[in-house]
């Protein structure tokens, strides 16, 4: 299932493919800017010259929130691709990642606000990522080993229920340790770093988040496509038995998938704190639901699909909040999920997955 887009053999058209993807992305962003520009004028009565900078500013924000959803969605889609399980605990792994980042930057390094010193900021961010990503990845591997592996050959209902249980355990452990309510997350990336742009301001943090996510996604894509372990993952996703007969170590490959998914969720957790300035124990529930919707929207099991879906959800949410309907964003996302499941259950990029129940 991870396969559908990435098993395409690397041929001479490889460069063309990248060019097409970039072209599509740029086109989509331009379309969104125009849409938002028009909507701001119609709904909020902005003057056209005032609406354009705001639209661009919001688009950058949409890209950063979309990047966070995409990073989480990757974990859902990879796990689903390989063992056909909705890992309900994945959103909570992301939440744990966000908490760990707070513990590191706030607790251990004692930061409270923006760090203006660029090399030190870079170091802090690097340390945060290197600290959180292995831990959340490891946590995800642990969850798979202890809670999901015994159900490898059982029916689908049992592991699904277990996954819900694990999600609840993680959430309530966080509640136990951190208490309820919002906990402040140190926003070490200075929020006042803004690029003034025709009356609006473009957040450097948003650009950073988008760029970081892009780098991680490219690394993942390269890993899955170009390495031996990545090939084992794709083979396992296509046919576990056949892969196993060809000498793929299933346990190792599945653990690796959980490791990568957890690490990406951890990275998303780190940037979440930077972007929103708070963490809470039920963070993973909402974000997880949106990220899962992203994965389904793009075509579950499909890596490119998860990224595409994440950005689409980011855009939808941003569109709603730009026009002042942010409290309806969950409702909108759910409507999208419903419509996708009714009209195109395989998602935008998915091809396989029929109507099996």
């Amino acid at each position: 299932m991870i396969a559908s887009s990435v098993t395409t053999p690397r041929t001479r058209s490889g460069l063309n493919r990248s060019a097409r993807i970039i072209g599509f992305a740029v086109g989509a962003i331009v379309v969104y800017v125009v849409l938002l520009w028009l909507a701001l004028q119609v709904v909020d009565g902005f003057a056209p010259e005032r609406a354009l900078p705001v639209a661009i500013q919001q688009t950058i924000n949409a890209l950063s929130i979309g990047a966070i959803y995409a990073l989480i969605a990757l974990g859902y889609t990879m796990v689903y691709g390989i063992i056909e399980l909705i890992n309900f605990a994945h959103g909570d792994v992301f939440m744990i990642g966000a908490f760990l980042a707070v513990v590191l930057t706030g607790g251990i390094f004692g930061q409270t606000g923006g760090v203006k010193d660029v090399p030190f900021l870079a170091l802090l961010l690097l340390v945060a990522l290197l600290f959180v990503m292995p831990l959340t990845g490891g946590l995800n591997v642990f969850i798979e080993r202890v809670f999901y592996r015994p159900f490898r050959h059982a029916s689908r209902l049992a592991p699904l229920i277990t996954a819900v249980g694990v999600s609840f355990i993680l959430q309530n452990l966080a509640l136990l340790v951190a208490g309820s309510g919002d906990r402040a997350a140190p926003q070490i990336f200075p929020l006042d770093w803004q690029i003034p742009f025709g009356g609006a301001e473009i957040s450097v943090l948003s650009i950073f988040i988008f760029a970081l996510a892009l780098v991680l996604m490219l690394l993942l894509q390269t890993f899955v496509n170009r390495t031996r372990l990545g090939r084992a993952m794709r083979a396992t996703a296509q046919d576990q038995q056949a892969a196993s007969l060809m000498g793929v170590d299933l346990n190792q490959t599945i653990a690796l998938t959980f490791l990568l998914g957890g690490a990406l969720a951890g990275a998303a957790g780190v940037v979440w704190g930077l972007r929103f300035g708070f963490v809470r124990q039920d963070l993973g529930f909402n974000a997880g639901l949106k990220a899962f919707t992203s994965a389904v929207l793009g075509g579950i099991g499909n890596i490119s699909g998860a990224v595409l879906g994440g950005f689409i959800i980011g855009f939808i949410e941003n569109f709603a909040s730009s026009l002042g309907f942010s409290r309806w964003s969950e409702f909108l996302v759910f409507m999208v999920l419903t419509l996708v499941l009714i009209f195109r259950p395989t998602g935008i990029l998915g091809q396989q997955l029929g109507d099996r129940a």
Partner: protein, 396 residues
Amino acid sequence: MSAALGRLRMDGGWRDRLVRASEAHRSITILVVMSLVSSLLVVFPNFNVLQGPSGWYDAFANAGVFVLLAMGLNVVVGLAGLLDLGYAAFFAIGSYAYAYSNSPFSGLDLPFIPMLVIGAGIAALFGIALGAPTLRLRGDYLAIMTLGFGEIVPIVFLNLDKWTEGTNGIGGLYRPEALPILGEFTPISPFPYMIVSLIVVTLAMILLYRLHDSRIGRAWMAIREDELAAAANGINTVVTKLLAFALGATTSGFAGVFNASKLTIVSPDQFLFTVSFTVLAMVIIGGMGNIWGVAAGAFIVYMIQAVFLKQINTVVENLGLPAFDLGPIHVDLLQINFLNYQFLLYGFALVLMMLYRPEGLFPSRERRAELHADEEAGEGAEVVGAMGGVPGENVE
């Protein structure tokens, strides 16, 4: 498996005959057992254990709501094998239906008993609307769709504050009109509520057992075990699954109406995911698929949550244990609110149950025989998942 079942059937004795008689006359058995349970529940609180009679009656009435919820969810999860994670949404819809029909907010004052049916019907319509597109897809999608639905229903009630009073909820609902014999429904005496909830639970149980033993019930279980095989045997899987899902929603809506009439207030925060999760935990702990087991499980879990966890705080306070330090961790039992841990406990209970005792605390005989058939046959096979262990991967 058949060998194990056969062995269970073969040994005679009075116990076996009793079980077989109860299976042959289910409705009568339920009536007898429930009247015994009811008289126990009526008498027991008068001994003033832990709390006074009205406290117990109140707890029993609320437990009845959860027993009803659990039995309804059991049809969906336990019988048909569909995971519904947004069960509280239908509970909310039933509750708000009552709130609109019986409150100063809407100005209506409709009779209680017809509203039970209407509220349940409205919830059923929502269930069908949600289930119809989703049940054609694979089971996982239902789980996520219902999870999403359960999430947005409270949000919608919260956001439409013009029509729902938002966070505050709709308050001051009218209580049900007085019933013959039972008398008035007043805030001071929860006794009539308890009796109504016992009657409703009994009726629901009879109905569900009759369904369970019917052609529809067998179709549900066939789908649960192997959907492809069920379809091949001429079962219309989509309609049958939809029926189970709608029946679950109906029960939930029904419970919602009753609960709203008892609480006399509805607000969005009563219907969060924790409610769906609690009911799911009750079903799993009681024994998925076994109706009386689920009812017993729900009752026990609710009583633990509502009475004993609350009492632990009092008990600990009375013990007056001093605070102590465990290395860097400061332990002060007096500072711990044990109620906060209930969901953590549910989470662990759920996971441990699925891993080690998938048939639940009170499994049906068939189920236990099924799930442990391999062990009894001495094949040393691994314990399979709750649903009989059809290797899902090979169906494709």
